[in-house]
Symmetry: C2
Subunit: 224 residues, 2 copies
């Protein structure tokens, strides 16, 4: 009976500790950068013992990657997104514009920005961390674009010879570079334009019934 | 007469010191990162006094930015490029592929890679440095693409309503992101594909006399 009563308490305590550790790790890396973030520092800020952290994770990189995954999941749920698929209304341009506008919002969220920049900066000079960061956090998101572009290939909206893993970079990478390197403003107009340029190309199209970006009318899909 | 003889010697000494300072700054930032690079450290490694550096520059950021500009100029001259213009053979796809292949070579050059990564990483978390880095080093290169795309608009190869400053990001930014974040391999095939996708678009084109990427034949321009 004592065991029955203590189990839920222990679970609640664990859950509370886990969340405190995530919060502490994200705040600390944003303040002092990745190299100066330590398990000791995270534990002290979270108000837990070092052993509590080492019971669940083996390194600060592991703690941080999970904290980022958790933050991304929570943000997606808060915004009402399904985190594991892109919208598929049958209108590729509209769906891509919708998702990229949501990404613009996310990139401008201060809670996301500082820790993400600290981890991204370290990934630029630490190849092993960079590759883990991409494999765990970025590539799964990029695969959602791959899935959406494949479905557009099935319906004939995208050429069958296009490699979706490269094609997605035409609109995702410009936004990423503007965020990483401050090469230009990040706005809805900008990401809408990227989608139009990527889908229809920079060279003139011969006249045809295919709608072009300039005569396609309002691009936002109707959403409930 | 003594003054006449010493002047060329002083110039040679200055030039030698300047080069030693550039080399020391690039080597040091590659080894210890931007935050731990100091004027003292650069001076000591270059074998010059601190005052020599402060006579020419006011901060480590200034030294590094000039060292990078110098490295880029030297690399361009060594490769036989004209550093201030993109080729214009009248074949936009071929010219872009040629320049991006040269960029692939540059990104893979170890002399370029380590110091560039150190500065780029710091720019991700230090907005002021990031903006200076872009304004001094990156934006002038991007403007060469703007010029080339404008000339392609004049000849009708690019749609007149396209904004060249955004359009260039469709092929430049994917390469930049793969380099910065290890999101994929960097090859000639890859950059050639980016150019084809950007120019002709991901959606099918109606049949027309316009060549498409799949039937355009060998893409490399004939070069002397």
């Amino acid at each position: 009976m004592a065991a029955n009563q203590s189990a839920p308490d222990a679970t609640r305590r664990s859950e509370r500790s886990r969340r405190a550790i995530y919060d502490a790790a994200l705040a600390l890396v944003a303040e002092v950068g990745y190299p100066k973030t330590t398990i000791e520092g995270i534990a002290s800020r979270a108000g837990v013992g070092k052993q509590t952290i080492y019971r669940w994770w083996t390194s600060k990189a592991d703690v941080l990657l999970e904290a980022f995954l958790d933050m991304a999941e929570q943000a997606a749920h808060a915004a009402g997104h399904v985190p594991h698929a892109l919208p598929d209304t049958g209108d590729l341009a509209a769906d891509l514009k919708y998702v990229l506008r949501a990404t613009v919002d996310e990139l401008r969220d201060p809670a996301f920005e500082a820790p993400s920049r600290a981890l991204a900066a370290e990934g630029v000079v630490d190849e092993e961390l960079g590759r883990r960061f991409v494999a765990s956090l970025l590539e799964p998101q990029l695969q959602l674009y791959v899935d959406r572009l494949r479905s557009a290939q099935d319906t004939g909206e995208v050429r069958p010879d296009v490699d979706p893993r490269i094609a997605l970079e035409l609109f995702v990478s410009p936004l990423a570079q503007r965020w990483l390197q401050y090469t230009g403003p990040i706005t809805y107009d900008y990401t809408d334009t990227l989608v139009d340029y990527a889908l229809y190309g920079l060279t003139p199209r011969p006249p045809s019934p295919t709608p072009t970006p300039t005569d396609a009318g309002p691009a936002s899909p109707a959403r409930p």
